[in-house]
Every structure is written in structure tokens, then in C-alpha cells.
């Protein structure tokens, strides 16, 4: 698929465009179990190869291999499987509802569930998560209530914890250690580092974990984060979710054709791991390694999670305009839910029947939640639009200053 360079100005392209036949056979995804696992106190200079290889634990038969195999029991794995499946069912339902004009906007994480769920499970509850809009699985892992904290937020209805102040899917929970999701990309990344610096300052063991996308690594904030994390040895984990696409721009536009995204950590002297993001066990193990390192006072780790954005960017996007329709099917690293299921079955801790039962149970649960939410109205109902009018002026400042009180009176609320 090479494009001859006619100009000196090199504009990278995607590997495949609509009409091309996707073939990822040239990608070197390595072999499960092949990459060594250094001790957590290894000098980053001695482990630079980990930024260029791919840490994989599960092989094609779902068997766990090699030094990165994490210690995690079957109950935990079943929990991870359940949350990933719930995330997918939730995404599917919300996407359909957006298509029926029940809400303004929705965004799925299909194929990337492990990136959020496994990483969150590898942390402690007191650790702080700094998510993007594609880690709803992390919120569910932290015990978010699907009905009240998620669906009601998406619908901006009367129970919306954000009282209509935020776009759908931009969840927040101080209680669950899930930082408020922002609009501008990557702004949260150096904020996570600051949070971690404060944790270190207070002498606490809590760490911060942030995710950002491959496209978003081009933002200045990304570099601020690595700079400050390296300078002050901040106890944090900086994840880059390389799902190959930033809306219609391939990861090559963010510089992905020249080196790996993990390798960006090397220039800052940070340890950098490149991990199969569709491998629940590998994501879990890498996060655990980085968390242990951070808690030991050894500072930050950069982790590139190599994955694929199976669906469109959001409900406002049509991916068939810029990539082959069947490209997702050719992605060589499979589906994280299927792979964890296969693993559990291979170790005798799960069956296909149990899996189908679980899928039905979760589907029913999501439907029940949706029925309740739907009965509360949606943003297109003239009355619902005013549900939170009184809250419009609240939480701009801790106490409402006189000019806002006056403006509230002008609006008559």
C-alpha cells in the first residue's frame, strides 16, 4: 500500500482507504509470552526495548504465557469479563437510543473495553482515574450505577448528577475516584500528574492513572505531562490508547509511522511499555507493574495500549467514509471480550453456556434501566429542557457572587 513520494513534504496516509483490501499481516505483533518482565526498579535506560515490542500474555488459544502472566484469580477474571460485557451492552443500547433521537450524542468504546476495565482493576480504589470519553468501562469497574450515574447523565434528566451542565458521557465521580471528563483533549493528562505530585507531597501511596488517545499525543499538554512526571518523579501511569484512529486521521498523522507512541516516554527518561490492549491479562499485568513502581517512589510509567477502534468515533461520525468497511474484522489482535472468555474456558473456569446466560442477564438489566430512564423524558421534550434551570447559576463559584444572583433574577428563577 505504499504511496510514492512525489513531494518532499511527506503527508502520511492510512494503511488502507475505502475500497482497499485490509491486510494487517505485515504488522509485527510478536508472540504471547515472549517479552521479558523486568523488576520494577529496573533503570528505564535498561528496558528501552519494551517501548518497541508488544507485551502479550494470551495466545491465540486463550492460554496465558510468559513472565508477564499476572497473579489474578478466576473470580476477578469473571468480574472483568462481566464488566466488559456490561460496557458493551450499555454502549449498544445507548447508541441505538441516540439514533432514535433520544439524546444528543453518544460514543462507544467497542473493542477497547480491556484498556479501561483491566487497568482499573489492577489499581486500588483510592487511586485516581483521569479518563477520556472512551473509558466508560473504568467507571463501571469503580462501581458506577448504570441507571442513576450513567444513563441519567447521558439523558441530562432530573436525576443527572451533573444537573444538565455536561455533555452526555462526560461523567464525574469524586467518590469513585473518576475525574470529570473534559472537552479539550489531553488537558487532563498533566492534571493527573499534578494530582500524583500532590499525593507524593502528602506522603500517600495513591497514584493517578490517565488515558489519552494516539491522536491526542500531539497536544502540548501531553508533553507537559511527561515533562513534569519525569522532573518530579510523579507517581502516575500515563496510558496512550493507540486505537489507530483519531476521528478520520490515522495514527500516522500523530507521528505514529516514525516510532511507537510508547517510545515518547524514552526521551523523558521514563520507563515505557507497549502492550496488547486487547489482552486483558497483559493490560492488567503492565498496569500492576507500573503501579508497584509508582508506589515504591520510582515515578511514572508510559504505557501504549495497542488496540483498534472498532466503531465510528462517535454518533456524529461515519467511518466508512475514510476506511474500509471490513477493516475492523481484520484487526489481528481480536476482541478483548472473546479473548478473556476463551482464556477462562481454557482454564476450566467458564463455559460457553455460562457466557450466554451472562449476556442475556446483562442485556435484560440494561433494558430495565433504559425503560426507567426513558420514562423520565428526553432532551427534546420541551419540559425536560427546563429541569435544571435553577441550577444554571450554581457551582460557577463556591458562593454565588452578586452579579450572578442578579442574572438569576433576570431569568426569573
Amino acid at each position: 500500500m505504499s504511496h510514492s513520494a512525489e513531494n518532499k513534504l511527506h503527508v502520511p496516509d492510512a494503511m488502507f482507504r475505502p475500497g482497499d483490501k485490509p491486510d494487517f499481516s505485515h504488522l509485527d505483533v510478536g508472540t504471547a509470552g515472549a517479552v521479558k518482565r523486568p523488576a520494577v526498579d529496573t533503570n528505564p535506560a535498561e528496558m528501552r526495548d519494551l517501548a518497541y515490542s508488544l507485551i502479550r500474555v494470551m495466545d491465540d488459544n486463550g492460554e496465558a504465557k510468559g513472565e508477564w502472566r499476572p497473579k489474578i484469580d478466576a473470580d476477578e477474571l469473571r468480574k472483568g469479563l462481566r464488566i466488559m460485557l456490561l460496557t458493551r451492552k450499555y454502549d449498544e443500547r445507548m447508541f441505538r437510543m441516540q439514533r432514535q433521537a433520544k439524546m444528543s450524542f453518544y460514543l462507544k468504546c467497542t473493542g477497547e473495553e480491556a484498556v479501561a476495565v483491566a487497568a482499573t482493576m489492577a489499581l486500588d480504589d483510592k487511586d485516581m482515574l483521569f479518563p477520556t470519553y472512551r473509558q466508560q468501562g473504568a467507571f463501571l469497574t469503580r462501581g458506577a450505577d448504570l441507571f442513576s450515574e450513567m444513563m441519567c447523565q447521558v439523558m441530562n434528566n432530573e436525576l443527572d448528577p451533573m444537573q444538565g451542565k455536561q455533555l452526555p458521557i462526560k461523567y464525574s465521580s469524586a467518590e469513585k475516584g473518576f475525574f470529570s471528563i473534559s472537552g479539550p483533549l489531553t488537558t487532563h493528562y498533566p492534571q493527573a500528574v499534578g494530582w500524583a505530585m500532590a499525593s507524593a507531597y502528602k506522603g500517600e501511596d495513591h497514584i493517578a492513572l490517565a488515558w489519552t488517545g494516539d491522536g491526542s499525543t500531539a497536544e502540548g499538554d501531553f508533553h507537559y505531562a511527561l515533562q513534569f512526571a519525569a522532573t518530579y518523579r510523579a507517581p502516575c501511569i500515563l496510558n496512550i490508547v493507540n486505537n489507530q484512529w483519531a476521528i478520520s486521521s490515522p495514527q500516522t498523522i500523530a507521528g505514529g509511522e516514525n516510532t511507537t507512541f510508547a517510545a515518547r516516554g524514552i526521551g523523558y527518561g521514563l520507563p515505557a511499555l507497549r502492550v496488547d490492549g486487547n489482552d486483558f491479562l497483559a493490560v492488567y499485568a503492565a498496569t500492576q507493574w507500573a503501579a508497584e513502581r509508582a508506589r515504591a517512589g520510582l515515578g511514572a510509567t508510559v504505557i501504549e495500549l495497542y488496540t483498534y477502534r472498532v466503531e465510528g468515533h462517535s454518533t456524529s461520525d461515519d467511518p466508512t467514509g475514510y476506511r474500509p468497511k471490513d477493516e475492523p474484522l481484520h484487526w489481528p489482535l481480536g476482541d478483548p471480550i472473546e479473548r478473556l472468555k476463551d482464556h477462562l474456558i481454557s482454564i476450566g473456569e467458564w463455559t460457553q453456556e455460562q457466557h450466554e446466560e451472562l449476556a442475556t442477564e446483562l442485556e435484560t438489566y440494561v433494558t430495565e434501566c433504559w425503560r426507567k430512564v426513558d420514562a423520565m423524558g428526553n432532551i427534546n421534550d420541551p419540559e425536560m429542557a427546563h429541569t435544571h434551570t435553577a441550577a444554571l447559576f450554581e457551582q460557577v463559584y463556591k458562593e454565588m457572587p452578586p452579579h450572578l444572583r442578579k442574572q438569576r433574577q433576570m431569568l426569573g428563577v
Binding site: M128, P161, M162, Q163, K165, Q166, K170, S172, S173, A174, F179, S180, S182, G183, P184, T187, Y189, P190, Q191, A192, V193, G194, W195, A196, M197, A198, S199, Y201, K202, A208, G220, D221, Y224, A225, Q227, F228, T231, A391, E394, Q395, V396, Y397, K398, P401, P402, H403
Partner: protein, 338 residues
């Protein structure tokens, strides 16, 4: 009571709060070991240690963004942006993040960050060491914006800013660091030591944000101003012997419009003076609020004196800088309307 210049008063504010509250930490470019290029944090690292007062990479965006994270995690970071002219790399973090965090999370997450920065002209700093960017911040819901005009207020207002649970942009007119300035570049600076507002208690005190101060009572015209211009206005009024009421607003957001309106309703005339670029400056906002509140009492159009709509020049600084003459011209223009 001790005599202090503004730098010492700001240093004293930091000192009091570092001693009082372990969640207060200070960082910025050169603020640690050396104590800042203007020496505002001089001696604090030595006294409180490297964990409390430290140097930051030259990364304004990094400084503000990490301060947000620290604020979320229970600290009260005070960060210095070396010159207000260099705050723009941090502008997105201030506007999109710091200012809106409380609102977007409906109060779940807040960051009580104080951003200090030397601002303004009159120091031969050219276009990138002289700007008055306050209007950029007054336009942003969620921020408080403060600019003191003397050492006493500077300390009390900085203490209040650091203790405030909302984010504060604290702009320090660097022309006033060492002494008041009457707008005459050929006059050497008078020391704050000879000024009543240079008397600053060493102990803790704070001044409420959002309160303007009538610094001179008068009957004929109200002059609303802040920062360096407070002193230029005072000198001009004194020279011309005008019975003007002068208001130093001190906090731009929230603005104490009640004090301003009460004065204009009394005098019937109003001139607003600031250093910033004319179009869209905060003077324009004050004028429009005065017009809303006092229209039926006004006896002449409200006048404004500002910098021009050009970048801040180097060689022509005193043509740009609003001096006494321009202020008197505006005052006379309002007084001439009978």
C-alpha cells in the same frame, strides 16, 4: 508596623500562609532557590523546604495544569507565571479547565489554585513584558480576578486569594513593586516606605475579595480605576485641583458595582481609567455597568482612558501609556458638559 514594598508584602503573604497551612505550596519558573526574578518568593524555599517552594520547568501550561491536579487532590497551589505576557500557553488550562471544573462536575471537583503574575507597563519592557491581559480573564466565568495597587492591599488580597476556594488570577502591576508611580517617567520612583499603604503588618490579615475602595472622596466626578493607574489618577487630580472621587476597584471579578454606582449617582460624572488596550478592555465593562445602573443620573457621557489598540511599543512607551495629561483631558471633557 513594618514598612514594606509590594514585593515584600507579597512575600509576607506567602510566608504567613506557608506557616499556617501545610496544603499551601508554591512553584513556578525560578521561584525556588533564587526566589523569583522579581524576588517575591525570596527566602521561602530556605525557610519551608524544597517540597513547599520549588522551581518549575519553563512550561506555563504544565505549571497551571499540574496545579489543577494538585488542587483537586487537596492542596492550595500558588503558582507564578513569570510575566503575564507569557500566560497564554496556559490560557487553555485556565479557561477551559481551571475556571470550569467546578461547574462541569457540578461541584464534585474543585481546584483552589492561585495564579500570580506580574503585569502592566511603564518599565521599558516592550510588547512582551508590559501587557495588561486582565480582560481575557474577566470574560471567563468561574475565575476571580484581582489587581492590587499598593503593598497593604497586595498582602491582604493575596492572602484572601490563596484562601479562596475558587481559582484566582492575581495580577501584580510590576511598575508598583518598588513604589507608587505618578505617570511621569522622568520622576524617580518614590519609595513605598514613605506611603501610608506601605505600612504592612507582618502578621496574618486578609481583605475581602470583591470590595472596591473609595480612596479619595469628591463631589464633581467619579474616577474608577485599578492597578498602576490608581496613582497616576491621584497625581493628576491633585495637580489639577479637581474635586474627584477616586475608586480603586481592587477586584475586577466580582466587581463591586454598588460602590461605583453609589459614587456616580452622587457625582453624576464618570471616567474609567486602565492601562490595557482600549477595545474590549475591562474599562468597557465598567462603563457599560455604570450606564445600566446610573443612566438617569449621568450628566455627561462616560469617558475612558486606556492604552491604544496597538501592541505595547518599546521606544514610544510614553505615547502609549495613559499619563496624567490624557486623564485630565478626559476629566475635563466630562466636567465641560454643563
Amino acid at each position: 508596623m513594618a514598612k514594606m514594598n509590594m514585593i515584600q508584602a507579597l512575600n509576607s503573604a506567602h510566608d504567613n500562609l506557608l506557616a499556617k497551612d501545610p496544603s499551601v505550596i508554591i512553584y513556578g519558573e525560578d521561584v525556588g532557590y533564587f526566589g523569583g526574578v522579581f524576588r517575591v518568593t525570596h527566602g521561602l524555599q530556605e525557610k519551608y523546604g524544597k517540597q513547599r517552594v520549588f522551581d518549575a520547568p519553563i512550561s506555563e501550561g504544565g505549571i497551571v495544569s499540574t496545579a489543577i491536579g494538585m488542587g483537586v487532590n487537596g492542596l492550595r497551589p500558588v503558582v507564578e507565571i513569570q510575566f503575564a505576557d507569557y500566560i497564554y500557553p496556559a490560557y487553555d488550562q485556565i479557561v477551559s479547565e481551571l475556571a470550569k471544573l467546578r461547574y462541569r462536575s457540578n461541584g464534585m471537583f474543585t481546584a483552589p489554585v492561585t495564579i500570580r503574575s506580574p503585569c502592566g507597563g511603564g518599565i521599558r519592557g516592550g510588547q512582551t513584558h508590559s501587557q495588561s491581559p486582565e480582560a481575557c480573564f474577566t470574560h471567563v466565568p468561574g475565575l476571580k480576578v484581582v489587581m492590587p495597587s499598593n503593598p497593604y492591599d497586595a498582602k491582604g488580597l493575596l492572602v484572601a486569594s490563596i484562601e479562596c476556594d475558587d481559582p484566582v488570577i492575581f495580577l501584580e502591576p510590576k511598575r508598583l513593586y518598588n513604589g507608587p508611580f505618578d505617570g511621569n517617567p522622568h520622576q524617580s520612583a518614590v519609595s513605598w516606605g514613605t506611603h501610608p499603604k506601605g505600612e504592612v503588618p507582618e502578621d496574618y490579615y486578609s481583605l475581602e475579595l470583591g470590595k472596591a475602595e473609595v480612596i479619595r472622596a469628591g463631589a464633581d466626578v467619579t474616577i474608577v480605576t485599578y492597578g498602576t493607574m490608581v496613582h497616576v489618577v491621584e497625581a493628576a487630580v491633585k495637580k489639577a485641583g479637581i474635586d474627584a472621587e477616586i475608586i480603586d476597584i481592587r477586584t475586577l471579578v466580582p466587581l463591586d458595582i454598588d460602590t461605583i454606582a453609589a459614587s456616580v449617582n452622587k457625582t453624576g460624572r464618570c471616567v474609567v481609567v486602565n492601562e490595557a488596550t482600549r477595545t474590549g478592555s475591562f474599562a468597557a465593562e465598567i462603563m457599560s455597568q455604570v450606564q445600566e445602573e446610573c443612566f438617569w443620573r449621568l450628566e455627561a457621557p462616560i469617558q475612558r482612558v486606556s492604552g491604544w489598540d496597538t501592541p505595547y511599543p518599546h521606544a514610544m512607551e510614553w505615547d502609549y501609556f495613559p499619563g496624567q495629561d490624557r486623564i485630565l483631558e478626559a476629566i475635563n471633557k466630562t466636567l465641560d458638559v454643563k
